[in-house]
Symmetry: C2
Subunit: 209 residues, 2 copies
DNA sequence: CGAAGAATTGAGGTTAATCAACGAGGGTGG
DNA sequence: CCACCCTCGTTGATTAACCTCAATTCTTCG
């Protein structure tokens, strides 16, 4: 069962309801009846699944504009958890089903998500540990302004979460970070998760075009 | 460049054009301008991506009703290849964009695909070789009538293709099949890819609910 | 029948997982 | 304020799983 922390029930423009969640809180649980579709206003949300024995796989980390809680049947097929403090718009099932504007926007974000899931499947199925971590760091930077030279970026996920995202163990992730640091491809800053990244040297390690 | 084998350009009911492809032919290539969206009428299509050094990851094997060639930008993000002889309906870009009936159907299949991609990410990131192969065989049976007892199923993909689908090598896939055969969980029939499967004994090996 | 491709099996090497110890913050309560 | 605990991260030693290389068999098709 997930525990819901609601902000004041402010009505958003498009029939949606604004809800706030603090960091690390479960927003939706796998198997719950799918009563709403959520769109992120601010913050980041991790989407994952658990195996019966506790193994976890995180598929994607979504940011503002993205949607989750979409399912082909009546139940959520995965877990959504707040990585940061998050503000979402919740659209009640049935209220938006017939809105073609909503469905058009939904289709757009689903296309982007499928594309990202494809890329992530290549990572999980075919990349080495260092390639995975390099790809992860580069992914953090995507969208950040300058894509050349040294760039600073904040790593919000723990080693354990990164491991569950990359299909590795936390030790292997830690070793890969150490490896990149030793080779001066990344450098740690005053330890609040901030790192500096040498993009031209990192990019070739990802084995991506 | 993919080479297109077209059937007689029969017009399908909904402004789509019917096209036939023989087995193993490339239907769309990554990077090509996305001029059409395809819906499978009959047969199966493998969706994959290649890394620069030739490593391949197959994400999904699609059947009738499913769509491919959907992309958030103007270019295909992955390869589509005929696993069997395939008949598809090709919908030209621009002709269907404003059809809400088409978009509704598109959204429906995208939701199913995302769900499948989630499940596959768990397999790639968190399952052992035998668990992956067991999951693969069970997936072949999904939709086949009786889900209990012994069931016959045809394995259409080569060991190499299965390996690229499961993120393994073909030898590891072969060993996993041999392992399942030795334990009488599957049995080979007169070798045209047909195997018999003991579902009650196979299912626990997949580590899925 | 012969050739080419597919599958199987074995031996040995490599990568990442596992098991384990230790250190660095951050919060809590005495 | 300090001692304690707990989580997180790092690093080392060992193990296990899977990959690589190689040889052989099986299957299909001309």
């Amino acid at each position: 069962m997930s525990h819901y922390y609601e902000s004041a029930g402010v009505e958003s423009p498009g029939t949606g309801r604004l809800i706030d969640f603090p960091s690390r809180v479960t927003i939706i649980d796998e198997g719950e009846p799918a009563n709403a579709i959520y769109q992120i206003v601010s913050g980041n949300v991790m989407i994952s699944k658990l195996l019966p024995d506790g193994r976890r796989q995180i598929f994607e980390v979504l940011g503002p504009g993205h949607m989750f809680g979409v399912t082909p049947n009546g139940h959520y097929d995965c877990i959504a958890e707040a990585l940061t403090d998050v503000r979402v718009t919740a659209f009640e099932k049935g209220q938006v089903d017939r809105s073609s504007a909503f469905n058009a926007q939904l289709a757009d974000v689903l296309k982007i998500q499928i594309c990202a899931l494809h890329e992530h499947a290549v990572l999980l199925g075919r990349k080495s540990a260092v390639e995975r971590v390099a790809s992860y760091i580069l992914e953090l930077i995507e969208g950040t302004s300058p894509n050349e030279g040294w760039v600073s970026v904040r790593v919000l996920m723990t080693r354990s979460e990164i491991a569950d995202y990359l299909g590795l163990t936390l030790e292997t992730v830690s070793r890969a970070f150490s490896h990149l640091k030793r080779d001066s491809i990344i450098a740690y800053e005053r330890y609040d998760g901030l790192i500096r990244v040498n993009i031209p040297r990192l990019r070739p390690l990802t084995s991506t075009y």
